[in-house]
């Protein structure tokens, strides 16, 4: 029975059909939505209107800036956490890893609400600052005219919420590195920093590449965290797409924003593939 060559194809067929229907077809449709008028003519009007929209430059800038700030912080943090795990006793390691991956199961909406409870005027941050004597009256971190405060609040919330995504990938990669390499380096007199830079980091390249690609693409889609903390006071691409579809009933413009997100994601993926190209010998 195992010799039947058609069996695997039959098994994967349903999933293939489903993915064709729900990935490939919508992708084409999205391009059509953005590049056609409501009556079906080919037009750049949607893209032009988006580019001239009051919020487009801000949304683009905020999305890019958020990604540029959050992703590196998370990579460094996740790397540190992963290395930290290595120095812990075996039993503790599993427990800590479980705790540290809890944010993965938390909706970005819930994460936004939780951090809103912290940053809101009568929230926990102000209460803490008051308790240690730094503040007398509450500071308005999330005021609509405090873009820096809003931005930083989102950064904190995003770093908290999504570092676990990077952590999981990096820890998987760290586990694949044979201990003997580091031990050999130690025998030859390498300091821990040298061991990290010359042994661990290069061998971690494939995982770093995966983690960066995944996290960056997700970062360009940031939505619910921004909405809960800042509403529309901090425009981001996904938020604008949502608003144009749900509030202003303009699918063409919403699809245009979606295409911008897709374009950015594709571009960054190519960049990562180039810059972090993994030589064949390094693959484990």
């Amino acid at each position: 029975m195992r010799g039947e060559r058609w069996v695997p194809y039959v098994l994967i067929l349903p999933s293939l059909l489903f993915l064709a229907l729900f990935f490939v077809s919508p992708l084409i449709e999205a391009v059509l939505l953005a590049l056609r008028s409501p009556v079906g003519q080919w037009t750049l009007a949607n893209l032009q209107r988006m580019a001239n929209d009051l919020f487009f430059p801000e949304a683009l800038r905020n999305t890019l800036l958020l990604a540029a700030v959050v992703v590196p912080i998370q990579v460094v943090l996740a790397l540190s956490m992963g290395l930290l795990l290595g120095g812990l006793p075996k039993g503790g390691r599993d427990t800590f890893l479980y705790i540290w991956t809890i944010p993965l199961g938390i909706s970005d909406l819930a994460a936004g609400i939780a951090w809103f409870a912290i940053f809101t005027e009568r929230g926990y941050l102000n209460s803490f600052l008051n308790a240690v004597g730094v503040l007398d009256t509450p500071a308005l971190w999330l005021a609509y005219d405090n873009p820096l405060g809003l931005f930083l609040a989102v950064v904190f919330a995003e770093v908290w919420r999504a570092t676990a995504i990077v952590l999981v990938i990096l820890v998987s990669g760290l586990q694949l590195i044979p201990k003997e390499f580091g031990e050999a380096a130690e025998v030859f007199g390498a300091t821990p920093w040298q061991r990290f830079r010359r042994v661990t980091l290069p061998l971690l390249r494939p995982s770093l590449q995966t983690a960066l690609m995944l996290r960056t693409v997700l970062a360009f889609e940031v939505f619910a965290v921004v909405f809960t903390l800042a509403g529309r006071n901090l425009p981001v691409l996904a938020g604008e797409a949502y608003t144009w579809y749900a509030s202003f009933r303009n699918p063409g413009l919403a699809a245009s924003y979606g295409l911008v997100i897709l374009g950015l994601s594709a571009a960054m993926t190519v960049v990562y593939l180039r810059v972090l190209r993994v030589r064949r010998e390094v693959r484990l």
């Binding site: 990935f23 930290l84 503790g92 540290w100 938390i106 909406l109 690609m213 797409a241 579809y245």
Partner: protein
């Protein structure tokens, strides 16, 4: 050496505190009295402990309906992604066929595909087919989101079950389907159940597509997002807490499989 270990432990505890604190805080807010929301400065421990806020949350019209919709959508997502993903995982695990690498690549690529670009045209299609604003529509999109994980996780589960067991069953007279049902399925069940929980949590937590695709039949996440601006603070906190609890409970139940699952899903 001992000193290093102690510092490592302290650092690990600090990180754990950082992870757990916001969750504790939202729980504390949810279990405080409604007026406590406006207290300043806030105390870390809710006093008095009260289910007033939660009770208020559930008394609001639309909350139970939204919760029910979220459960239906998540249930459908589990069903669909299991039905579509498990056979594909079995194929990847047990067979070496031409196009396998390409299929695997396709699965991985869909993982990194922005949901934003998919939801909008799909919403238009659903309108065209009269399926807009239904739980089925949301479940279909969520299945698209969860399917790659379902395929990869079940492939890994089946890889962990030695082929020899099935082959032994064949030599003893079982048909392949019987062998699958009586040997493989019981062994694979814990791993597949973990994959099901993963799909459930993915669907339960999803916000963007659910918000785009629903109007009156909102899921919990879509509902909470839509009332964010106007809802009073206690309501929001209770909502956030309630969103978090089922996911955390389920993930705790499958904690043994968690790390391998996250790792597989992110490779």
């Amino acid at each position: 050496m001992r000193r290093q270990r102690v510092w490592a432990l302290v650092a690990a505890l600090a990180v754990s505190l950082w992870v757990l604190l916001p969750i504790y805080l939202i729980a504390a807010s949810a279990f405080s009295e409604q007026q406590a929301v406006y207290d300043w400065p806030k105390s870390l421990w809710p006093s008095p402990l009260s289910v007033d806020t939660l009770r208020f949350f559930f008394s609001v019209e639309g909350v139970w309906k939204a919760t029910r919709n979220s459960l239906v959508v998540a249930g459908l997502t589990v069903l669909l992604s299991a039905l579509l993903g498990t056979p594909a995982g079995y194929a990847l695990a047990r067979y070496a066929f031409r196009g396998q690498a390409a299929y695997r690549m396709l699965i991985l690529m869909t993982r990194a595909f922005p949901l934003v670009i998919l939801s909008i045209p799909l919403a238009q299609q659903f309108i065209r087919f009269g399926m807009y604003d239904t739980t089925l529509a949301v479940a279909l999109v969520h299945t698209a989101l969860a399917l790659p994980f379902s395929v990869l996780i079940s492939a890994s589960v089946f890889l962990g079950i030695p082929k020899e067991l099935e082959e032994a069953a064949w030599t003893l007279g079982c048909s392949p389907l019987q062998a699958f049902r009586r040997i493989v399925v019981p062994l694979a069940l814990p791993g597949l159940a973990a994959a099901a929980v993963f799909s459930f949590v993915t669907s339960w937590n999803e916000v963007f597509a659910a918000s785009i695709l629903t109007l009156r039949e909102r899921t919990l996440t879509a509902y909470l997002l839509s009332v964010l601006g106007e809802a009073p603070l206690p309501f929001r906190f209770a909502g956030g807490f309630f969103l978090v609890v089922p996911a955390l409970i389920f993930l705790f139940l499958i904690r043994r499989y968690l790390f391998s699952m996250w790792g597989i899903a992110s490779r």
